[in-house]
């Protein structure tokens, strides 16, 4: 027996691996929930622990991938769900999750109606938790120095006066990129957005793969490396460019969001179909909508709370702006056309 030692050690390692498989969701007495979510989810220090103290329900985070990957993971694992509750499905992917039947019916009582999905398209399954506007941002210092008026609308971006100044992220590889495409579809209509994008590209707009790329490498803002003063980002970005010096002096934020160019991304929570802990799962969804959690989402995740009773942090109250009339596209329409739109967009924007 030559290789038995090595073989046995490897075999026992394998046994050890399979032996370590995780158990079910219940452990005698205490209820355990798994919250499936994406990589950027953060409810602040100790928030979920307080939920456990209040209810005796333990929560394990299962976080992986970005928002799009999250929904696809849920669809693929429908027969044997990854957990009991999901947070992080957004309005651009909500229909796919709802149509695939991965969600059980439950919406928190009194959830802000302006953020709810339409009935029959997620309105019975998904509770809004956070909201963020994807908007074009500008480097105010750059425009002041150049003596050029800041652009304000989507149409300004195709004005030759602003040629070669705009950088955005791609609709097929970035979630804000898709949101911006949807904003232009809402603004220009099913028949007009293609022409708008052709004009945008002809006017020197640069398309890069992801948000970090666009913001950090190409944008000219104070914390960025590049020299393009117009970038696709979020309405919540400008407060993060405000240094202590500026806020103490009561100065203006060095960058600004163009509130007439925004698409609203809402992130939802829901109970996963097939959970054995339906009641506890509903409690967790309700907790995520509670003021306690809602006041944490702004500092922890850089998005706005949707619960109107939640208060914003002082700096946000001073510098953060919300679009009053953001562009919207019906989630069912997004679901029906997403692939076609992206393909048509790619043909125009990615020659």
């Amino acid at each position: 027996m030559r290789r038995t030692t090595a073989a046995i050690s490897a075999a026992s390692a394998l046994l050890l691996l399979t032996g370590c498989a995780s158990g079910g969701t219940t452990d005698d007495g205490t209820v355990q929930l798994t919250l499936v979510t994406h990589d950027s989810t953060d409810f602040g220090e100790g928030t979920l622990e307080r939920f456990t103290e209040e209810t005796g329900i333990e929560v394990t985070l299962h976080s992986a991938g970005d928002a799009g990957q999250l929904v696809n993971q849920l669809v693929l694992t429908k027969e044997n769900p990854l957990g009991d509750v999901v947070f992080g499905i957004d309005n651009t992917f909500a229909s796919r999750a709802v149509n695939a039947g991965v969600l059980a019916d439950h919406v928190t009582d009194g959830a802000a109606p302006e953020y709810l999905l339409p009935a029959g398209a997620g309105g019975e399954q998904l509770t809004p938790i956070t909201s963020g506007d994807v908007c074009v941002n500008v480097d105010r210092e750059w425009f002041a120095e150049a003596g050029l008026a800041e652009p304000t609308t989507l149409d300004d971006l195709i004005d030759p006066a602003y040629a070669d100044l705009f950088v955005t992220s791609a609709a097929n590889t970035s979630s804000p990129g898709l949101a911006f495409l949807l904003a232009t579809i809402a603004a220009k209509g099913e028949d007009g957005w293609q022409d708008y994008w052709s004009a945008l590209i002809a006017n020197g707009a640069k398309v890069v793969a992801g948000w970090s790329d666009a913001y950090y490498v190409d944008f000219s803002g104070p914390s960025s490396e590049g020299d393009r003063p117009i970038v696709l980002s979020y309405a919540s970005s400008p407060p993060f460019e405000v240094t202590e010096e500026i806020s103490e002096a009561g100065g203006e934020a060095p960058t600004g969001a163009l509130l007439d160019t925004c698409f609203r991304q809402t992130e939802f929570a829901g109970v996963l179909a097939g959970t054995e802990q339906e009641e506890a799962a509903q409690q967790l969804v309700d907790f995520l909508y509670s003021v306690e959690v809602q006041e944490q989402v702004a500092p922890a995740m850089y998005v706005f709370p949707v619960n109107p009773e939640a208060e914003l942090p002082a700096e946000w109250a001073a510098y953060a702006e919300v679009a009053t009339d953001p562009f919207t596209v019906d989630p069912a329409e997004i679901d029906a056309n997403r692939e076609r739109w992206i393909e048509e967009w790619a043909a125009i924007a990615l020659p």
Partner: protein, 552 residues
């Protein structure tokens, strides 16, 4: 011991060989074969029936065909450039003797283990309009992708060819020179043919890495370019078009198998052509100047992105300083926990991956180092060798999603297991360890084993006292390399849950996802920390002086 007995293999030994092969094969089958098959099944058998027309349709889409051409062309170009640039460096680092050579040999492998996302950002900072190299106009172009692919893979060629070059008897070339051949002629006619097996083997592996490159292509190429792998990513994560993804996965698998078989053939030729004995390196001479100059230029090109990163990490909102590093200490909004916790999680994951991969690779290497007399036996070993190399080339996206649907019930209910990520990393580490250990085991003079057996050592004793004793050092070195690769791994594991808190690469990605002030600086500082740790690991490993490390 009679001649008759020594020609027969004992039944016990056959059983042991079968067992030794079965364990790593079972590992690959369970954690690579099964998940990939499940994903392919979902894609190709919608509603349980084979949809050939649909699959063919997906294959013949114009975009698909364009991407196949782009992938192969890009990989071929990157491989050729890498090979040409690596040759002078291989000569200088393996044929010349000078102070600091060991450090340089360690440094050359650093790009290979750096995280792709960060290297992507570094290259974009260099190439963007108005950046230090912006005048080249390479931003978002294939040229930028080629630069990054060369950057990542040059170590593979330098170390593989360098190791072979070190083993070449210089007298053949000297004889050619004495007979009147020019230096160029002597190199082309005498040296290069003897280096060919190692060069082809390394080039095939580089081609494989380039053809399956993902993160760096996504970031650098701009959204207009791509590879089969980035398309699989978009189809799977954005469109949930599993059929298209399955077709591309199979296509990629074909490319990978082809590249692997070219590499294996070249390795086999190299094995028979020469036995590796390191010849004394000589001191540099004046006529080496062009080669040394070429090496310095290549080294400068390799250092450029790294220097860019370090410089950016030291820049703060109001000048220069170590603020970004101090901010990693934790206690602020973005990083409630200090960065060393993420470092610790990363190191634990890497350690677990190594503990899984090394015993498996050792098992496989012990089996593969046998030289069966029958042609069928040799073919069987060649197939086994090829199967164990597959993790280097199979679509990471497909494996990652496959884990979710294939490892979801007993006996392999691992979706929430803390071992899922170490297993994913071990898959990639296994071939790296195997390629390091196997040449050493094959180089053992069979007479050593015969002598031990003649002196009365039972088979297990021979294995322990000779094979494993000699393999211990390269195994340790390979463990270091595998650990370093695990530290920087961004591929398949971004889809998998991490129950133990974030690893360092995840912290970097999170920082890069936030706007404002210091976050970019912190992300890059964290990347420099990650790079420093990998350099440290590689420098320690290099002290073990294992030439086959990182070579193919």
């Amino acid at each position: 011991m009679t001649p008759l007995r020594s020609r027969r293999t004992a039944p016990g030994a056959i059983l042991a060989i079968a067992l030794g092969a079965a364990v790593p094969v079972a590992f690959i089958a369970a954690f690579l074969g099964w998940p990939v098959l499940r994903m392919l099944g979902l894609g190709l058998l919608p509603e349980g029936r084979l949809d050939l027309a649909g699959a063919l349709d997906a294959l013949l889409r114009e975009r698909t065909l364009r991407l196949i051409g782009l992938t192969l062309g890009q990989a071929a170009a990157a491989t050729a450039i890498t090979a040409v640039l690596a040759l002078p460096a291989a000569f200088v680092l393996y044929r010349l003797r000078f102070r600091g050579r060991g450090v340089l040999r360690a440094l050359v492998i650093v790009p290979f283990v750096l995280p792709t996302v960060v290297v992507g950002i570094a290259f974009r900072i260099l190439f963007r309009d108005g950046g230090p190299l912006g005048a080249l106009g390479w931003d978002g172009s294939v040229a930028a992708i080629l630069c990054a692919l060369v950057f990542f893979n040059i170590a593979v060629v330098v170390r593989t060819v360098g190791g072979a070059w070190e083993g070449l008897d210089p007298r053949a070339e000297e004889a050619a020179r004495a007979l009147g051949a020019s230096r160029a002629r002597a190199f082309l006619d005498v040296t290069l043919p003897r280096l060919a097996p190692s060069l082809v083997s390394a080039a095939a592996v580089v081609f494989l890495f380039c053809a399956t490159a993902f993160g760096v292509v996504l970031v650098l190429g701009g959204p207009g370019t791509g590879t089969i792998e980035t398309e699989i990513y978009v189809l799977t994560t954005q469109f949930l078009d599993l059929q298209g993804a399955a077709v591309l996965s199979i296509l990629q698998l074909l490319v990978v198998v082809l590249a692997l078989s070219v590499a294996a053939r070249a390795r086999a030729a190299g094995d028979t052509a020469q036995r590796r004995v390191a010849h004394a390196a000589r001191a540099p001479r004046r006529r080496d100047a062009p080669v040394i100059l070429a090496t310095v230029v290549v080294a400068a090109l390799l250092l450029l992105p790294i220097v860019t990163l370090v410089a950016r990490s030291l820049r703060t909102l109001d000048g220069w300083g170590v603020d970004n590093y101090l901010a990693l200490g934790g206690g602020n909004d973005v990083m409630p926990a200090p960065v060393w916790q993420a470092v610790l999680t990363s190191l634990t994951t890497a350690g677990q991956a190594v503990l899984i991969a090394v015993p498996l690779a050792l098992c496989a290497a012990l089996v593969l180092s046998r030289r069966p007399r029958s042609a069928a036996g040799r073919r069987l070993l060649a197939v086994l060798d090829g199967a164990l190399m597959l993790p280097l080339g199979v679509s990471a996206v497909t494996v990652g999603f496959g884990f979710l649907i294939a490892l979801d019930r007993p006996p392999l209910d691992l979706r929430d297991s803390p071992l899922l990520i170490p297993i994913a990393h071990a898959l990639v580490a296994l071939p790296l360890v195997l390629r390091t250990v196997l040449p050493v085991l094959r180089g053992i003079d069979p007479r050593l084993r015969e002598a031990a057996a003649a002196l009365g050592a039972p088979p297990w004793r021979v294995l322990l006292g000779i094979d494993l004793a000699i393999a211990a050092r390269p195994a340790l070195a390979a463990a270091g390399l595998a650990g370093a690769v695990s530290l920087g791994e961004f591929g398949a594991t971004t889809f998998l849950a991490r129950p133990d808190g974030p690893t360092l690469p995840v912290v970097i990605v999170r920082l890069l996802a936030r706007p404002g002030g210091e976050h970019l600086g912190m992300a890059i500082a964290a990347s420099v920390v990650l790079a420093a740790i990998t350099v440290l690991v590689m420098a320690l490993v290099e002290r073990l002086r294992v030439d086959s490390l990182g070579a193919f």
